[in-house]
Every structure is written in structure tokens, then in C-alpha cells.
């Protein structure tokens, strides 16, 4: 078995169709739309892009998000498993990671496996078929770095941080909608994710204790991934964002206020860039 495993080779059954960030960003449609159809009236029911039960498409949006969570958990499972496999136990230098970190990654693999189980059950409960929506493989891409410290930054802090934001939103949705399972399950998964983020924060500090340059590279990489995982501003503190930064849970997971503020700024930047890109594409399209 190879030491490092490329994202293109992730094994899936025939129900799954994969896509990547470039393909997703090539879709220039925006939720607000542009022409005169029913959307104006419909969106007027909800003052934000947030997933709330008063949206006309609440259940379908929740189904899509839950499927996204499920495939994200599959990739997180694969990523944790690969980190347990790819690096020998050692002192943390070079291609090695401490034995205890390997154990933590194996533990995370179990947690992620449970999350796949939970989200598959919830998907069935919500009437979603496995593979019904396309799978964006961006999460595993962040887990592919050859430097284990970058994996910690990209996966445990950025990806699992995103999971905290998404699960918080889904938990609230389940609570408001009165869904007895959704709120219950998301609460459990949220507890695990806070643990994973904290684990990442702790190990990142520990492994780079005597290597400030490596630490700053890792934090830089985390910012890149955080911006990527903002999905063009879909996550952020603004009303235009579909889901919010879960500040309280991020604090529990070891993020400082400054770090959360930085993520919020990155989200805003991503939203502005996405809007500018859509405007440019629409202008080019109109000119043709």
C-alpha cells in the first residue's frame, strides 16, 4: 500500500459522483437568481440565506446539507485513517508523528466512522438516498499533505472547525423544526468535533514546539483551507452567509477570539471574491 493516497483514487461505489472545488465554482448561478420568476416571493419568506424552517425549501436544503455532511464524514474518516497509516511513530520530525498522535488519529477514524453511520441514518430519515447529491472532494484534498502538521491544521482545525459551524446550524434547525432525531444526533456529533479540533490545536502546538517556522507554515495553510471551506462566503458572520461561525463551540475547541475573527474576515473576503467573480462572468456572458 502506498504511503500517500491521492484524492482521485478515493474508492466509492457507483452511486457516488465526485466533483471538486473548481467545478463547483464554475457554476455561476446564485441563490438570489437574476430573472423574474418565483424566487423573489419565495425568498422573501426568509430574510437571510440561513437554513431555517421558514424557508420554502427548508427540508430539501436540509437534505442536501445532510448528504454533504455524510460525504464529508466519509472523507474525514479516510483522512484520519490515512494519517494513522502514512507516518511512522517517532519524535515528530520528518515523516514521523508521535505514537500518541497516531492513536488519536485512529480514535478519530472511529469517531468519523460513527458520524458516517449517524449521517447515513439521518439521511434515510430525511428521505435522501446515498449518492443522491454530488460529492465535493475538497475535504480529503486538505488531508493529503505530505506534512502531518499541515494535515492537523487543514483537517483538524479547518475542516473539523467547519463541521462545528455546520453541525451547530443543523442542531438549531432540528430544534426549531421539532425533529426529534436531528437535534439529538447533531449535538452528539458536535461534541466529537469539538474534541477533534482541540486535539488538532494541542498536537499542532506540541509537534511544532521547537520549530516556529513549521508552525507558521501550518497556520498559513490553515488559513488557505479556511478560506476554501468558506465556500465563497457560504459560511460567515454576515446575513448573506448560509451558515454562521459557531463562535462559542470554537472557543471550547481551543480557538482564540483573534483566530475566530481572522476566519470571519477570510469568510468575508471569500464572499466578496465570489460576488466579484459572478459579476464578471455575468458581464462577460451579457457581452457575448
Amino acid at each position: 500500500m502506498r504511503q500517500f493516497f491521492p484524492v482521485e483514487d478515493l474508492a466509492r461505489d457507483e452511486r457516488f459522483v465526485q466533483t471538486n472545488m473548481a467545478e463547483r465554482m464554475a457554476d455561476t448561478r446564485v441563490p438570489g437568481g437574476g430573472s423574474q420568476t418565483s424566487s423573489k416571493k419565495a425568498s422573501s419568506r426568509s430574510s437571510t440565506n440561513r437554513l431555517t424552517p421558514d424557508r420554502h425549501d427548508a427540508s430539501d436544503r436540509a437534505r442536501g446539507l445532510m448528504h454533504g455532511i455524510m460525504v464529508g464524514e466519509i472523507q474525514a474518516l479516510e483522512g484520519a485513517g490515512r494519517t494513522a497509516h502514512d507516518f511512522d511513530a517517532g519524535d515528530g520530525s520528518g515523516d514521523t508523528i508521535p505514537f500518541a498522535l497516531k492513536l488519536d488519529m485512529a480514535r478519530q477514524a472511529w469517531d468519523e466512522a460513527r458520524h458516517v453511520e449517524i449521517s447515513a441514518k439521518l439521511s434515510a430519515w430525511m428521505g435522501t438516498e446515498i449518492g443522491e447529491f454530488q460529492e465535493n472532494t475538497v475535504l480529503f484534498e486538505a488531508a493529503c499533505s505530505n506534512d502531518p502538521v499541515l494535515r492537523l491544521a487543514g483537517v483538524n482545525r479547518a475542516l473539523e472547525g467547519l463541521a462545528i459551524d455546520v453541525f451547530t446550524q443543523m442542531k438549531e434547525f432540528g430544534d426549531l423544526a421539532g425533529d426529534p432525531y436531528l437535534e439529538f444526533c447533531e449535538d452528539w456529533m458536535l461534541a466529537d468535533e469539538v474534541t477533534h479540533v482541540k486535539m488538532g490545536s494541542d498536537w499542532l502546538r506540541k509537534v511544532t514546539e521547537n520549530d516556529p517556522e513549521r508552525r507558521s507554515r501550518a497556520l498559513e495553510f490553515q488559513q488557505v483551507v479556511d478560506k476554501l471551506f468558506s465556500f465563497g462566503g457560504a459560511r460567515g458572520d454576515t446575513a448573506e452567509s448560509s451558515f454562521q461561525l459557531a463562535r462559542r463551540f470554537r472557543e471550547l475547541a481551543g480557538f482564540t477570539d483573534d483566530e475566530v475573527d481572522t476566519i470571519a474576515e477570510l469568510d468575508e473576503q471569500a464572499l466578496a471574491e465570489r460576488k466579484a467573480a459572478v459579476r464578471a462572468m455575468n458581464a462577460a456572458s451579457a457581452a457575448n
Binding site: V17, Q36, S38, H56, M126
Partner: protein
């Protein structure tokens, strides 16, 4: 064939706007043919105008009937997400489109009944009324051989009427029904 000069694609009594899509890979003629096929299956003889908003990936749908006669124009508005292949975004999804448009045609047919005279226009329906009507349409589509995931509509109904045994029983009644009036259909569980 669609051409840049055409504002709409027309097949028989079905017109699709726009004739050419820029943001999604839909074929207006394929859409028109599908609407015509569904209209025949559900016995909707009205002239139909399908207007697709390709600028949004959302999936809102509405149907507007000018009068209750079989020759009154029927306008269906669809956001592109209601017609696309969710596994290959921006491409046409025939199964999903058939399910979306089938529901709109069944709604239009319902509106031609006297006991639907009090039904508000689609865009003025409450979320709960929409959910009840969707369940009623989806059940009939399933019995007509269309691929419909019942649990999806049960979940949608539960989100509007509550996660209770009573709501589930009401959903089952709607799902199995073929001949309801508007008041019966939207009655609270």
C-alpha cells in the same frame, strides 16, 4: 433546433423560455418534449408555458392557470435547481424534472376542479398548504410509475405539520388519495 434568434422553444402546445440556456446545460426542446409527455399522461390539454430561471440553483416551482377551462393558458415557473441532475449540477436531470413538472401539472389539473376554487395562487400558499399539496401530488405521481421517494415528502410534511403519529397518519391519507378537494387536502392533521 434552438437558435439564438428564438425566444422560446415550442413543441405542440408547450412553449419553453428561454430557448437557449447560458448558465445551465439544459435543452429547451428536451424540456418541452418532457412537459408535453407529462401533460398527455395527466390529461392536461391546456397550452403550457414553462419559464425557467436559470440564474438560480434553487428549486422553487409554481403553476398559474388563467382560468379553469382546458384551453386556458397554464404557466409553470421553475428555478433551474428543480430540473437539474443533482449528481451533475447544471446538467438536466430528467427524473427530477419529471417529478417537479409532474407535480405542477397535477396542481393545475386540481385547480380545474370546482372544489379547488378557493385555493390561493401558488405563490400565496402557506408553507403548510404547499407541503400538503406536494404530498398529495407526489403520491399520485408514484402511482403513475414515476420515481418518487416517499420518505422525502413525508419528511417535508413532518417539517410543516410536526413529527407526530397524527401528522404521519394525515400524510398517509394524502399520499393514498386521488380525489380530494382543497379544503380536505389542507386540513390540519
Amino acid at each position: 433546433m434552438a437558435s439564438e434568434t428564438l425566444a422560446a422553444a415550442v413543441i405542440g402546445k408547450v412553449t419553453v423560455t428561454p430557448a437557449e440556456f447560458r448558465l445551465v446545460a439544459f435543452d429547451a426542446h428536451e424540456l418541452a418534449a418532457l412537459v408535453a409527455e407529462l401533460a398527455e399522461q395527466f390529461g392536461v390539454a391546456n397550452p403550457i408555458h414553462l419559464i425557467v430561471d436559470e440564474a438560480t440553483p434553487l428549486a422553487k416551482l409554481s403553476a398559474e392557470l388563467d382560468a379553469t377551462s382546458s384551453d386556458a393558458p397554464l404557466t409553470i415557473r421553475a428555478e433551474s435547481g428543480a430540473l437539474e441532475n443533482m449528481k451533475q449540477l447544471t446538467t438536466f436531470g430528467r427524473e427530477r424534472a419529471a417529478e417537479s413538472l409532474g407535480r405542477m401539472l397535477l396542481r393545475a389539473r386540481d385547480r380545474m376542479r370546482d372544489d379547488f376554487a378557493d385555493a390561493p395562487p401558488d405563490l400565496e400558499l402557506t408553507l403548510a398548504q404547499n407541503a400538503a399539496w406536494d404530498a398529495y401530488c407526489a403520491g399520485r405521481l408514484a402511482r403513475r410509475g414515476h420515481r418518487v421517494v416517499q420518505q422525502r415528502w413525508r419528511y417535508n410534511y413532518r417539517n410543516r405539520f410536526g413529527f407526530t403519529d397524527r401528522a404521519d397518519e394525515a400524510f398517509e391519507r394524502l399520499w393514498a388519495a386521488d380525489d380530494l378537494g382543497f379544503a380536505e387536502m389542507v386540513a390540519a392533521p
